[in-house]
């Protein structure tokens, strides 16, 4: 089977997280949350280490990572942009905002800009429906978005 390559500090981080959760297979989702929090995403190697440390098949880890939309195997951009496509945002024109972001960045949902600055994802409802349509850049929420405002928001991060 494959040999996993990670830096020592990365490896130790994962090991510590797993240990903090008692190296129990049932804790895999909690472990993945913490590990993704650290690495930003869950590459293959990381999942393999998690599987080994929790003594569960790596197929199960991947089965979980590929099931839950919160987990991702692709690295995000420096400023990850998420467009809310919840119903409230949808009926208030979120798709037009999304189209404009796609156009401005020249990327599709799930992609990262070539310079690594921005990545684009969609999500379902951040619970800020009062401000619909809503987008998030990193942790910052921008409410009452319109296609016209997209340029300004992106400019903040350029």
């Amino acid at each position: 089977m494959a040999t996993i390559k990670l830096s020592e500090s990365q490896l130790n981080f994962i090991k510590d997280v797993c240990k903090a959760h008692g190296n129990k297979g049932g804790e895999v989702i909690n472990v993945l949350h913490k590990v993704q929090g650290e690495f930003g995403y869950l590459p293959k190697e990381v999942q393999e280490v998690v599987a080994l440390e929790l003594n569960i098949p790596v197929s199960r880890v991947y089965g979980i990572v590929s099931f839950y939309s919160f987990f991702t195997m692709t690295p995000k951009g420096e400023h990850p942009i998420s467009v809310c496509l919840g119903t409230a945002c949808y009926v208030r024109g979120a798709e037009k905002v999304l189209d404009e972001i796609k156009r401005q960045l020249g990327i599709n949902v799930g992609d990262v800009t070539p310079d690594g600055k921005f990545s684009l994802t969609v999500l379902r409802c951040v619970g800020a429906c009062g401000l619909a349509p809503v987008i998030e850049v990193g942790d910052k929420v921008y409410g009452r978005m319109t296609p016209d405002l997209v340029k300004d928001v992106i400019a903040e991060y350029k």
Partner: protein, 599 residues
């Protein structure tokens, strides 16, 4: 003295601006501009009787005020101190005029039970919570009631699960309590995945202690010492506030060992969801907490028999729990007086969409949609026409004008082809295409389907494909028939609640907006102008001055010059090649001469 004039959009449309103007003018004429201040306020939530004018400090409440009434109010009320009786609100029951809004029970359509502390207390301060009676319900249970009495009280209150299907909460607790076991779990379902719903988030952010308290009460009732909250990882603030609340409760001895000196132990841990709508289904939620894929399993066995770690578990959602402490302190008899015959208490709705007062509201069960949308919600944004209201999220349906006067509770919503769901309520106007809305929800379900059972995995995909065909202008009448058959079979055969209810948005729009489907299929037309493939951008050659800006803006190079020069213009007009047009609208938004329209 203050004159408060409703500036809510509903009232605004009915001339509140003119009323304010008149007040200011007349008061100035009388030299009262410094004594009496005229202020425009937000919506009073009573738009049916708008515009509203309220005189402070005596709280006189004038309804249906017309601009010409202003003079009378100034002369009579402000100068002479006499109320203008015919503008006062008339109580429909006893036909008496009521002047003080505080005495107008009818006016207050909202009753906050689950949200009783939201916006009142500092959620990160347990003292404020205790000051408002927090943890007294728990104290009462632990010192004055047996677990069975607690269950009986909750059963008697008629409280039903607020997460969707409305199963009686007390009965659920009782079923779980029957399966006594060394380890049992109280689980709070805080995986609010319904797009357009944020009730649970708001409660956890605004009043986390009520959840902590209720879970402990439930633990006492069923005999569990462990509590678990399954909360969306996308709710960092709610997570934080819950963590703070749990820590404070522990510090005060309201969680942990020997709570309030009664020997009862109970503690709560958080578990994080990871973005799967299906995990709102209790068996899927439990599997997710166990570190598995969030796939539902068949019931029975119910969680009450074999839940988390195969131990008896009781799962309730956030809003359900938020009702529990107050039922204990105020009693089931009190709770029973609120709501409709079969659905007791109140329901929190997240009012969103094309409505003026987007917000979180709580109304007694049995309130009509009309009251919610046109009173509390302040009506439709921009004065447009109400078209539909979607309740119950992807499991619910789209209701229309004919349902506006239905008193809403669990059963009436199901009868109308929708469902309560968790309480998302998205209002739509004529700019929403109902076929596209059905497609939107089905896209959601397809994305969120776990893939375990074939009707949901493949069936919903096929339904979505048929809807895509229709919105692309390739639909046939047979497709509509097939949609109905598929919807019926999926409802009948899918494994879990998500699958069984997934056809509801399609079925309800087919039922309520059949004409719109037929229009898409037969006339190839989308009246809301949403379905791009059915749209056609056109340049009015008489209006076009030939500046060419549209051609520059067009990303598809679909616009070119014609030979036609309109009268008074110097350059030939432009035209759009429909075959190349991608319907992005860039041409239209850039045209300063309103020469481009969409058909």
């Amino acid at each position: 003295m203050h004159v408060l004039c409703c500036g809510g959009t509903g009232c605004h449309a009915s001339a509140s601006a003119q009323i304010i103007e008149n007040f200011k003018r007349i008061l100035a004429e009388k030299g009262l501009q410094d004594e009496v201040q005229v202020i425009q306020t937000g919506c009073f939530g009573f738009c049916e009787k708008g515009p509203i004018v309220k005189i402070m400090p005596d709280n006189t409440f004038y309804t249906q005020v017309k601009p010409e009434d202003v003079e009378k109010i100034v002369n009579e009320h402000i100068i002479k101190g006499r109320k203008v009786t015919d503008l006062l609100y008339m109580d429909p029951e006893n036909q008496e005029h009521v002047s003080d809004s505080k005495h107008m029970g009818f006016y207050r359509k909202q009753l906050r039970i689950a949200l009783r502390n939201c916006g009142f207390v500092n959620p990160e301060n347990i003292d404020e919570c205790i000051a408002r009676g927090g943890y007294e319900g728990l104290g009462k249970c632990l010192t004055e009631m047996t677990p069975q009495q607690v269950i009986d009280e909750v059963t008697k209150s008629g409280l039903r699960g607020r997460g969707g299907a409305g199963f009686p909460t007390g009965v659920k607790w009782g079923l779980c309590a029957k399966n006594k076991c060394d380890e049992m779990y109280v689980i709070c379902n805080a995986d609010e995945g319904d797009p357009g719903a944020f009730m649970d988030r708001s409660i956890m952010e605004g009043d986390p202690h009520s959840i902590v308290e209720a879970m402990a009460i439930c633990g006492y009732a069923i005999g569990a010492t462990h509590g678990l909250v399954y909360i969306r990882a996308e709710y960092p603030l709610a997570i934080h506030r819950l963590q703070v609340a749990i820590a404070q409760a522990r510090e005060y001895g309201l969680l942990g060992e020997d709570i309030m000196g009664t020997g009862f132990n109970f503690d709560i841990e958080l578990r994080y969801g990871a973005g799967a709508f299906v995990c709102g289904e209790e068996t899927a939620l439990i599997h997710s907490m166990e570190g598995k894929r969030g796939e539902p399993t068949l019931k029975p066995p119910f969680p009450a028999v074999s839940g988390y770690m195969a131990k008896p578990s009781n799962v309730n959602n956030v809003e359900t729990f938020a009702n529990v402490p107050i039922i204990i302190t105020k009693g089931a008899d009190w709770f029973q007086t609120i709501g409709s015959e079969k659905s007791k208490g109140t329901k929190v709705f997240a009012l969103a969409g094309q409505i003026n007062n987007v917000g979180l509201i709580e109304v007694p069960m049995g309130t009509t949609l009309r009251d919610i949308i046109f009173e509390i919600g302040g009506g439709i944004k921009g004065g447009r026409q109400f078209k539909a209201v979607q309740t119950g999220g992807p499991s619910g349906g789209c209701l229309t004008t004919k349902h506006l006067d239905t008193p809403i509770d669990y059963d009436s919503l199901v009868a109308a082809g929708s469902m309560m769901g968790s309480g998302g309520m998205v209002v739509m106007d004529e700019t929403s295409c109902m076929v596209a809305i059905a497609k939107f929800y089905l896209e959601f379900t397809c994305e969120e389907s776990c893939g375990k059972c074939s009707p949901c995995r493949v069936g919903n995909k096929r339904m979505l494909e048929i809807l895509e065909k229709i919105t692309d202008g390739r639909g046939t009448m047979e497709d509509l028939q097939e949609l109905r058959n598929l919807a019926a079979v999926i409802k009948d055969t899918a494994l879990c609640g998500l699958g069984q209810t997934s056809p509801n948005p399609v079925l309800s729009t087919l039922d309520n907006f059949w004409d719109e489907y037929v229009e898409h299929v037969v006339d190839k037309k989308c009246r809301a102008g949403v379905c791009k493939k059915l749209m056609r951008y056109e340049i009015d050659r008489e209006k076009c001055i030939g500046c060419g800006k549209c051609a520059k803006n067009c990303p598809a190079e679909a616009i070119s010059k014609t030979n036609y020069i309109a009268e008074g213009h110097k350059l030939p007009s432009m035209e759009i090649d429909p075959a190349k047009c991608i319907k992005c609208g860039a041409c239209m938004s850039g045209c300063k001469f309103n020469a481009i329209s969409v058909k």
